[in-house]
């Protein structure tokens, strides 16, 4: 057959192979989103609370990580940690690297969100007899998270996109597998890249819809 239709790239094997890559991408993303949301919140609160020495220490580490390229962190976890005796399978190495980096980004958003809450909210609650923790849980965090939804979601969207950097350590995620597929035939390049583009778009558009839903529910 001479007619090279755009769908020729999508043989059953290729589609299955690409979907497997999507599974890896989604897996890394979902686990990293959850881990970095939890860790980022804790780090952000620690920085906000200004605990002597400890907050400064955590803040400094966080600043260093935040200013490194993600790819470097991925290389460090996958290539350097084994030299120190810590061996992680490639999937988990990516999860650890992504979570570390995204936690430090989210921590900054959480800290900023907390700073934006009027001091009167803390004073009102403390004067009312609430403990520090009750004040955070019932009054401050709900208000802060509501304000933080848009920046947090855009950070999580970058996280999903940045999983593609793991092809640097040959993690078999979606973008990497796309490359393998169009390496078979150069006419596959455009259709495969378009397909991958659509999938990333749908993933992230889904995320932003979830964000809108949360925003409306909390408003």
């Amino acid at each position: 057959m001479v007619t090279l239709g755009i769908f020729d790239a999508f043989t059953p094997q290729n589609v299955q192979y690409l979907l497997g890559g999507l599974g890896v991408t989604v897996g890394v993303s979902v686990i990293s989103v959850i881990l970095s949301f939890i860790a980022g919140s804790i780090i952000g609160i620690v920085q906000f609370e200004r605990i002597p020495y400890f907050s400064t220490f955590v803040g400094t580490i966080n600043n260093i990580i935040r200013n490194l390229p993600l790819l470097l962190i991925i290389f460090f976890v996958y290539f350097a940690l084994p030299k120190l005796g810590i061996h992680l399978p490639i999937f988990w190495a990516t999860v650890v690297a992504m979570s570390t980096f995204e936690s430090s980004m989210l921590a900054e958003i959480v800290r900023g969100g907390l700073e934006s809450i009027d001091k009167g909210q803390f004073e009102g609650a403390r004067a009312n007899g609430l403990t520090n923790i009750q004040t955070m849980v019932y009054i401050v965090l709900p208000q802060a998270y509501k304000k933080m939804i848009p920046p947090i979601i855009s950070q999580l969207i970058s996280l999903v996109k940045d999983t593609s950097l793991a092809m640097g350590i040959v993690l078999s995620e979606m973008t990497y597998r796309g490359q393998i597929v169009y390496a078979q035939n150069s006419t596959y390049i455009i259709p495969v890249l378009i397909a991958i583009t659509l999938v990333y778009f749908l993933l992230n558009y889904g995320l932003s819809l979830i964000a809108k839903w949360f925003d409306r529910r909390l408003a």
Partner: protein, 245 residues
């Protein structure tokens, strides 16, 4: 026993000496008004009583507990001492009713049924029963302040601190808030300390007036004495500048 007792209290913000050798006793059930020019330390003084500001020297006994003693549990004091703020500080993420019910539920573990009944009765008392479901952003300034007063009263405190409760209100809202405060002052078991610029309120309600300037208490006298025969020149000057007739 006095409800609130300052003994040689000193407070600094860095090098700035905010409270200078404060000695003051307020008895249970007393209504005391604290007045003075802005920057005189009135708000700082009232905020030390529930530990929103720390003191550096002296001791400060509230309901028998020393606030300057690190062993004192500050939350135990705050349970018994309510505070009403200039800017209300209602919980923005809670309805009016929830604002009133939250602390009794979390701190006093009051049963949900009793908590709701008490809260509704208080909202009724301050004229906000119909606003129970509204969010603070839907209330006017005067309504917010009355809700904040109800929130403080729900803890059944022994003392209430008012930090310029009407200063942020539009003039037509002031009266309703003062009426509620007058009502509370009638309760002979409630100790009230009020920082205010409302001289007519001070005259009508206060047992005593404390006059402060530059971080010091310059005059501590009965209301009548203070308004008719102020001793300190600073107090005389202050009274001549504010309209208190």
């Amino acid at each position: 026993m006095s409800m609130i007792e300052f003994n040689n209290v000193e407070k600094y913000y860095g090098k700035f000496h905010a409270l200078k050798n404060i000695n003051l006793k307020i008895d249970k059930g007393e209504t005391v008004v604290l007045i003075g020019p802005s920057g005189s330390g009135k708000s700082t003084l009232i905020r030390t009583i529930n530990g929103l500001e720390e003191i550096q020297e002296g001791n400060l006994l509230v309901n028998g507990f020393d606030l300057h003693d690190p062993k004192t549990d500050i939350n135990r004091i705050r349970k018994n001492v309510g505070m009403v703020f200039q800017h209300f500080n209602l919980y923005n993420n809670k309805s009016t009713l929830e604002n009133v019910m939250l602390a009794p539920r979390l701190v006093l573990k009051r049963s949900e049924e009793e908590n709701k009944a008490t809260a509704m009765a208080l909202l009724d008392k301050v004229g906000l029963a119909d606003k129970a479901a509204n969010m603070p952003s839907e209330l006017s300034g005067g309504q917010k302040q009355r809700a904040a007063i109800a929130r403080s009263l729900a803890m059944k405190p022994k003392a209430l601190l008012f930090d310029e409760p009407t200063s942020a209100l539009d003039p037509e809202m002031v009266g309703d808030v003062l009426d509620v405060m007058r009502d509370i002052a009638k309760d002979s078991s409630m100790t009230m300390l009020v920082v205010t610029h409302e001289m007519s309120f001070a005259k009508a309600v206060a047992d005593r007036v404390i006059f402060m300037a530059d971080g010091e208490i310059l005059e501590d006298s009965t209301t009548e004495e203070f308004f008719n025969n102020p001793k300190e020149p600073r107090a005389q000057q202050f009274l001549s500048q504010v309209d208190h007739k």
